[in-house]
């Protein structure tokens, strides 16, 4: 039986079509690519946020670095993490191929296999990992 998250709905549902960008979006202002042609961390983060938005239906501007890929959780520090609501299959089948296209675009073959990210991975975790895969 699948374990059901008890704090599934501790956060309010986000609008799927946010009218106004949230302050979190200001974190994602893109900088120029570095001299090696690699993306900046903010560019990777923007791509990750947009990919999660495509798979989850939430507006990209409402997604912050603390979001998790699955259902909302409260971590051991008591911090609440909103969630994109994806299942493990949703992550492996919808999200990973999008991120792999970014990795391949920059010439890297260090692509993401299934199971690399879980429902409790945060956007920041994913962006860090994707950035490390691009030389």
């Amino acid at each position: 039986m699948t374990r059901f998250p008890s704090i599934l709905m501790t956060t309010k549902k986000r609008s799927t079509k946010a009218a106004a960008p949230q302050p979190a979006a200001q974190l994602f202002i893109a900088g120029p690519a570095n001299a090696q042609g690699s993306p900046t961390p903010n560019q990777v983060l923007n791509f990750v946020v947009n990919s999660v938005a495509l798979c989850s239906g939430y507006s990209a501007s409402s997604i912050s670095k603390s979001w998790v890929l699955g259902d909302p959780i409260t971590d051991a520090s008591g911090d609440k993490h909103p969630g994109a609501g994806l299942s493990q299959h949703g992550i492996d089948i919808c999200l990973n191929p999008k991120l792999n296209q970014l990795i391949a675009y920059f010439g890297s073959t260090n692509t993401i296999p299934a199971g690399t990210y879980s429902t409790t991975s945060t956007i920041a975790d994913v962006a860090d990992d994707v950035g490390q895969r691009i030389p």
């Binding site: 947009n50 239906g57 409260t74 089948i93 296209q101 692509t111």
Partner: protein
């Protein structure tokens, strides 16, 4: 030659008749002469048959009755033999994506390229470590046990090719499982095991192909699903995955060698329908998410002991459909439904259904509490801020209903169960 085919009438009678004719010359001769002849003229196979006959003939009347045959079969049979479900292995590291920096050490290489677990074909055990055990009881002989499964995750990391407007990522992960034990069997339990599995799941994951302009735009700023943006979540299914799953398994205990093949399809995400993505209804009151799988599975079994393991499957070619559905009601009540249907093309009467319905309610909610220091007072971190910890709820009640027959053994299930879970 298989004398033990269980689909023949009165299967236990067949080996009895065979043994009877094998031993007829000996039975007609005086006992001492028969023993002498067995020792001097019989082939090793005939001697083995004679020895087995003696073991079966518990009342020493020279004949093996049906009851004696059944008793002997129960004594030595791997009655609990269950081949693994051919469903997809449970692979993947359930951990944060961030990894340690690669180092020129064996540990570092293994961390990045290999998964080692107890098994990959049982969701309950797929997160347990591989086990190599040697056990010695004071009044019994020692035995060893090996339960290990290995996946090479990087033999072929996802590689891209384009099919129409879809980017397809092909990946392969060789799987090897070994389960050994020389533990003694008893009349009530089959403890020994001797099985190997070699498999090579190959996945083809597909999704919309981004152009270079798309990638640059998606890196520039958060634009998806914003007003006026050309990048919007699909109204239909986004992505999917085909898996080809060849496997070869041996089980020397059960005298089984099997060649198996599966082809499965899983859809990606369909936001509006709650497919692989939680969908909310009536505010936060109801939510649901579902996950289907469709496929074809076929296998060829060389099963030399059907009588001993009557539930072991025969050759098969089955269509399979599986649905997992989760429904959340408020924050603490959940209903899950798993339904599987298999249709065996090789036997029109083999239409298997299996459903499991569960209702779970968490009696007390998770709570965030202050961490206590050694004196029982609230602990603080180096900045003087109070430390907090998430304390999961302790009590759950639930009920489950299982009905039908499921792979691999297709044993009939029709059970209701209720439970109270306590965890501190």
């Amino acid at each position: 030659m298989n004398f033990l085919a269980h689909d023949r009438p009165c299967p236990a009678l067949t080996p009895m008749i065979v043994h009877f004719f094998l031993l007829l010359p000996l039975l007609l001769a005086p006992t001492t002469q028969a023993q002498t002849a067995a020792d001097s003229t019989l082939s090793p196979d005939a001697k083995a048959a004679l020895k087995q006959h003696a073991a079966k003939d518990t009342n020493h009347d020279g004949l093996v009755s049906i009851d004696e045959e059944i008793a002997f079969a129960a004594k030595i049979a791997p009655a609990k033999f269950k081949p693994s479900d051919l469903s997809l292995p449970v692979v993947g590291k359930p951990a944060p994506g961030t990894k340690a920096v690669a180092e020129p050490t064996l540990n570092s290489w293994l961390e990045r390229n290999v998964q080692v677990r107890q098994t990959f074909f049982n969701a309950k055990d797929s997160n347990n470590p591989a086990k190599f055990a040697w056990t010695k009881k004071t009044d019994e002989g020692a035995y060893y046990t090996v339960d290990a499964a290995v996946v090479l995750t990087s033999l072929m990391a996802p590689r891209e090719f384009t099919l129409g407007n879809q980017a397809v990522w092909a990946a392969a992960m060789p799987v090897f499982e070994a389960h050994f034990s020389n533990q003694n069997n008893t009349h009530t339990a089959h403890n020994s095991q001797n099985s190997l599995l070699y498999a090579l799941p190959v996945t083809f994951t597909y999704g919309r192909k981004f152009s270079p302009d798309d990638i640059r735009a998606l890196m520039k700023a958060p634009i998806v699903n914003e007003q006026g943006s050309q990048y919007q979540t699909s109204d239909w299914i986004d992505g999917g995955e085909f898996t080809i799953f060849p496997a070869y398994r041996t089980d020397r205990d059960a005298d089984i060698r099997a060649l198996e093949m599966g082809v499965f399809w899983r859809p990606g995400v369909w936001v509006k329908a709650g497919l692989n993505r939680r969908q909310f209804l009536f505010g936060d009151t109801f939510s649901f998410r579902w996950d289907p799988m469709f496929g074809l599975e076929t296998g060829r079994y060389e099963d030399g002991s059907k009588l001993l393991a009557p539930n072991a499957p025969d050759d098969y070619c089955r269509a399979v459909g599986r649905l997992h559905l989760e429904v959340g009601i408020t924050s603490r009540l959940a209903i899950t439904l798993d339904y599987t249907r298999r249709y065996n093309f090789l036997d029109a009467n083999r239409d298997y259904h299996f459903r499991e319905l569960s209702l779970v309610y968490q009696l007390d909610p998770d709570r965030v509490a202050l961490v206590a220091d050694a004196s029982g007072e609230p602990a603080t971190d180096k900045d003087g801020k109070p430390k907090r910890i998430l304390v999961p709820g302790h009590f759950r009640i639930g009920a489950s209903w299982k009905k039908g027959k499921d792979a691999p053994a297709f044993e009939q299930a029709d059970t209701y169960s209720g439970w109270l879970g306590v965890q501190f």
